[in-house]
């Protein structure tokens, strides 16, 4: 058993590049989908029925589709429509588009649950438009949506493991290739699990800092 872990240790370069790919994919996907979600959330609350309906339909559709099938569609399906991707960009595009729906729903929920009083008080003190949003609405929104966005980041990290199926060299794929080369399944996959756990603990640590900030402000 110790010997098996020795083999995994010798292949640490492969695992580390897998870990780096997983972290990079997840962070880029989270940031971009958060921004796209921030653009989509107001559309969901639009007074124009057609706009709100279309945004809501996109979000609900994404929430009913398993991520793996969505990734398959992006990777295998789009080339038959003439759009070609390598597996890295296909995986990243799938993660970003899929999570845009979830981020939009998170932001819409946080916005809808925000108390009206600070906004009214802000307006009474002469804040309006961008300044009202930046100084009054945004800080509250970040603090209340932050923990949920953190949870979604953990979800993205775990979803990125599915991309091993389209041969994207992320952490699970690295563990898989070590296991198939040396036949050390336990050592290879338990190391991958430990690394995923570490990654999620880092995210949870960040969320806790945010939560303490939110409590201090209350």
């Amino acid at each position: 058993m110790i010997h098996d872990f020795g083999i995994v240790w010798n292949e640490r370069g492969l695992l580390m590049s897998g870990l780096a790919n997983t972290a990079l994919l997840s962070v880029i996907a989270a940031v971009v989908s958060l921004l796209l979600g921030a653009a989509l959330a107001p559309a969901m609350m639009s007074r124009r029925r057609a706009v709100a309906g279309a945004a809501r339909a996109f979000v609900d559709a994404m929430r009913c589709v398993p991520f793996l099938l969505f990734a398959y569609i992006v990777y295998y399906g789009l080339p038959s429509l003439g759009i070609n991707f390598d597996n890295w960009s296909a995986g990243l595009a799938a993660l970003m588009l899929y999570n845009t729906a979830y981020m939009a729903e998170i932001l819409r929920g946080a916005w809808a649950a925000m108390p009206r009083e600070p906004i009214e008080a802000g307006t009474a003190f002469g804040f309006s438009g961008v300044r009202l949003f930046r100084r009054i609405i945004l800080p509250g929104l970040v603090l209340s949506a932050g923990p949920v966005v953190g949870n979604q980041l953990i979800q993205i990290i775990k979803d990125s493991a599915f991309l091993t199926i389209i041969a994207l060299p992320e952490l699970t794929h690295a563990a898989s290739s070590i296991q198939s080369r040396y036949y050390v399944p336990f050592a290879a996959f338990i190391t991958a699990v430990a690394l995923y756990w570490g990654l999620c603990l880092v995210v949870e640590g960040g969320v806790n800092v945010l939560r303490r900030l939110a409590d201090a402000r209350r």
Binding site: R63, L69, Y72, K158, F189, L201
Partner: protein, 214 residues
Amino acid sequence: MTPGDIAAFAQGAVVTVALSVAGILIGLPVGLGLALIRWGKVPVIGRLVALYVSILRATPLVTLLLLLFFALPNVGVPIDPYSAAILALSMNTSAFNCEIWRAALLAFPKDQLEAAMSVGMSAGLRFRRIVLPQIARASLPALVNEMSLLIKVTPVLAVVGVVDITRAAVRIGAETYEPLPPFLVAIALYAPIIFGLVSLQRFIERRHAAAEAA
């Protein structure tokens, strides 16, 4: 699509639903058991459960599945793809269910337990008659949400050779060199199941809100 393809999808759908139901039925009580161990502050075991939940919640289902499927035979426990799939699903969902049950237990009002004790109810009876009906109702929306998440990760079970909806779609796509149509059919099979659960969760939440407002 040939009649054979339609039969393959139908068979795959039965497998997907059967595995999901098995995972849910095992994961619910196991999660409750784990939550009770943590709630009761059982020394050492309580700590181990907390560790188990923390690790399992961070582990992608694919990684867990590959670990179980390849490593268990290595230590002398032979396992077929279907058992590995059910084991992985129930381990994964039990960790999330544990947190849901535990949140309901922590929010449970203590005075009710004290009242039950004062009329001489035993611990088992207190749990069955007083605690369980109330925490089950409080946890229901979150549990249904977890069920929809579980079904959303089942396509990955095809990786170890489970012949489910996804496997059927991959095979048909490889045979016809047109992957898009079979994957769209697969999505059309999954979406109504997940949508049903999401709607059920919204319905329960609305009813709770209405009951509380009344």
